[in-house]
Symmetry: C2
């Protein structure tokens, strides 16, 4: 199935525009509706954020269930005729569906999650994490709470967005069939997500997936995430002597596995910062000129980034790519842990028997996690000296990278929707990349639908950290963009 453009976008219904539409939205009834109903969005979010739905903590299992129940009720209030709580072997997900009355209307599936990260360390929160607090910031009002944007804010704007779509188009049903799947285990690695998708393919069938778990580049910079990186991991053990040896009696005469590990890991990147695994780059889709140009226009203050979130003394990485390209659009190899020998106080004069390292690889389209096992093994084999025995463990699975099709009618629809919410032209919407990895790849694989990303977060929102916040103007833009998106997608037809 593909979506193709057929300019049949539902007209706005200015005559039906609500009476309380503010003056700042001439010809933009979606915005008028959103702005007239901000209080609903804020009230909904305030109530939902008070539920500490921490999926990683078994003590909060009831809260995660309460969060699902709250969302189900809110979706029913919004008007969804079908709302279901789907149990899993872990935390429950919420599924909702609002069919379009239009024959042949495409179906969009919104993906989000209702569980939140733990709050550690709690003493670093200026305001209690589950008592949403409104503060005035330099870019407008901010709501501080765990989950404010990741991901309750991103899900909540869809409730207002869909009402705005209906009001602006004067319809009783959306112009596209809208489904939502909001899982409860994303912050715990989505262990039951793939199975849930596999078991509900018919219910979840759609023409486009709209992932609402990301964000934009900066408050006044309309942008769209267009890809996420995949993930594969490996653990390496090198063995030398059968036992720890005395370095006085044997030092200088036998291979030391720590030396071998250092040389192996030093060989993981060449001097240009490129990963040396054989074949690692073979399937990497080159960054297109258009995407590179749009990514290059993303405002990025590297000095502030280093001083702030990156907390680092310098940027570093693959030669020939910018920092934004390196952290989002290029595959990487990172050693996450390394250990061996004596690590206590003082010294112990041994040549240890073993050395260990844990590595993860971030993958970009069209790399495949399953290729990493053979690549890692070949690299280790080529770089371990005589007298050292290597054991490589590469767990099956991994996370595939995923990306939007930049030249698709669905992507064009998204860009028009975002542009309209930011009062600009679609070609002014920049592209960004999400460097992390998530269950989005499962959606592509299981449902076979193209991906769009629409989120209202900012890189400065401190997700997963103390004092998470959402910038309310961004949330309002998100609601409006969602409303525009349903109308834009309705202009496409399944073929």
């Amino acid at each position: 199935m593909t979506l193709r453009a057929e300019r049949d976008v539902p007209d706005a219904a200015p005559d039906d525009a609500p009476d309380d539409a503010p003056d700042d939205a001439p010809g933009n009834p979606e915005r008028a509706y959103v702005h007239a109903h901000l209080a609903d969005l804020h009230a909904d979010l305030d109530a939902w954020l008070r539920i500490p739905s921490i999926s990683a903590d078994p003590a909060h299992a009831k809260d995660v269930a309460a969060s699902a129940a709250w969302l189900a009720a809110a979706l029913r209030r919004t008007g969804f005729p079908t709302v279901e709580i789907w149990p899993t072997d872990g935390a429950p997900a919420v599924f909702a569906e609002w069919p379009s009355a239009d024959p042949g209307a495409p179906t969009a599936l919104v993906y989000g999650h209702h569980d939140v990260q733990p709050v550690d360390p709690p003493e670093q929160w200026v305001h209690p994490p589950f008592e949403p607090t409104l503060l005035e910031g330099p870019d407008g009002p901010e709501l501080h709470a765990r989950g404010a944007i990741d991901d309750k804010g991103n899900v909540a704007f869809h409730l207002l967005g869909l009402r705005a779509h209906l009001a602006a188009t004067g319809r009783d049903t959306p112009a596209v069939t809208v489904k939502l799947l909001v899982e409860g285990e994303e912050e715990s690695g989505s262990p039951h997500f793939a199975a849930m998708l596999a078991g509900n393919r018919d219910r979840l069938a759609c023409d486009v997936v709209v992932v609402s778990d990301t964000g934009m580049a900066a408050p006044d910079v309309p942008s769209a995430v267009v890809a996420m990186r995949g993930l594969a991991d490996a653990e390496i053990t090198l063995r030398g002597p059968a036992v720890d040896l005395h370095s006085g009696s044997f030092g200088g005469g036998v291979p030391n596995p720590l030396h071998a590990m250092a040389r192996l890991l030093a060989s993981l990147h060449d001097d240009a910062g490129r990963v040396t695994l054989p074949g690692f780059y073979d399937r990497v889709r080159p960054l297109g000129d258009r995407e590179r140009e749009l990514l290059g226009r993303v405002p990025f203050d590297e000095r502030a980034w280093l001083a702030g979130p990156a907390a680092s003394r310098a940027a570093a990485g693959e030669a020939g790519f910018s920092t934004l390209e390196r952290i989002g659009a290029r595959p990487t190899a990172e050693v996450n842990g390394m250990w061996g020998g004596y690590t206590g106080p003082g010294h112990k004069t041994i040549i240890p028997a073993e050395a260990h390292a844990k590595l993860t690889f971030r993958l970009v389209p069209d790399q495949r996690p399953a290729d990493l096992g053979p690549q890692v093994r070949a690299w280790v084999e080529a770089n371990v000296p005589e007298g050292i025995e290597a054991e490589v463990h590469v767990p099956p699975g991994g996370v595939a990278p995923c990306a939007s099709d930049l030249d698709s009618p669905a992507m064009d629809a998204l860009l028009r929707a975002i542009a309209r919410a930011f009062d600009t032209d679609p070609d002014q919407v920049l592209f960004t990349r999400e460097g992390g990895s998530g269950p989005e790849a499962d959606l592509v694989e299981q449902l076979g639908a193209p991906l769009l990303f629409l989120g209202a977060g900012l890189p400065t929102d401190r997700i997963h950290s103390p004092n998470e916040r959402v910038l309310l103007p961004m949330l309002h833009r998100g609601a409006e963009a969602a409303a525009h998106l349903w109308r834009e997608l309705a202009g496409l037809r399944v073929s």
Copy 2:
């Protein structure tokens, strides 16, 4: 003070040879006496080995004191007119002195220790470690016990050796003044040894130090240790981001301290296996042709060594040197421990804030431990990339390497003594090197006397391991060589 040769060796006194001299020692009254009194040596050693003088275990402090008391009594029985127990802030040492009646006779100080290693793991001992057990082995009778050779056996043979010297020369006092210093903390790192030496320089003054804490190359191979390696250690911390970073959001864009540590440690050796610290080899005294030739004649079965004590799959090390040269006569750098990042089960996708490594260096004459600090710092500075902060901790002190003067009259005397005990010529006595490090360097530094090594151990004696043993024929050779040595040294005069 130096010792110079003056052929004034006391005659043997064949007329005074004991009546019970066996027939196998014609013209060798020292051997005749030793062989006639083996039962005394065996009985002494059996009694002493029953005292579990484990200095590392505070629960055995009384045993270490009992061991010192036993030795003091035995030295008095032997005839030493002066025997003292020297308390330290740790375990006591034993000092004894038997002055020569000859005016101008040189003074020799024997060094050894009466404490022993712990016995872990006790279940691996075939016979209880403190119940000496006599077994018949392929090379003759073996006595199995903790401390059998390290170092009670090596000290005990001097008691018989000195009696043999007196009997063989028909003297009431030794031909050289003999002092003994037998410490009680060697297996705990000799923490109070240097202070004890400094506080007793006059009492310990000597013309030559005879270290009896080593051994020979093989049962029928007369050999002398001629050097010990020194030791210096360093700990390195590399710091990257201020906190552990998410590898999805930051991976590929900032320096990873584990990568930097791997590259740093990989640069510790060049491709020829040479240590790359600047100036590291500047003060290394080249291995002389004579020593190299003698070391090269030491029987060494590398395959058996790898399959046995080295427990390794291959030999490795500095190009251009044999394994015996690498482990004894060449300086080394070993990474003893390395750690950083996530080391638990599964994976954690972080770029860690820190990486750590512990290194030790074995030094050979004339390297100086104090030079290592600047060398390590210069090496780290030259090999740490931008964005990584390095902290290098090099504790003061370290252990200096030490060596015998191969071309000295004292060395000639030792070689003649050993040769006579093995019925061979002095130029058939091979040279070996001790790769480990010990308090011997303190003796050189504090007392300013040249070093000789005379020990009866074998590389196969399992010192520090379960089932330590001494080969009794080696112990008998040690006693005889010691007896010959006192006579040979008496031929030297202090000038």
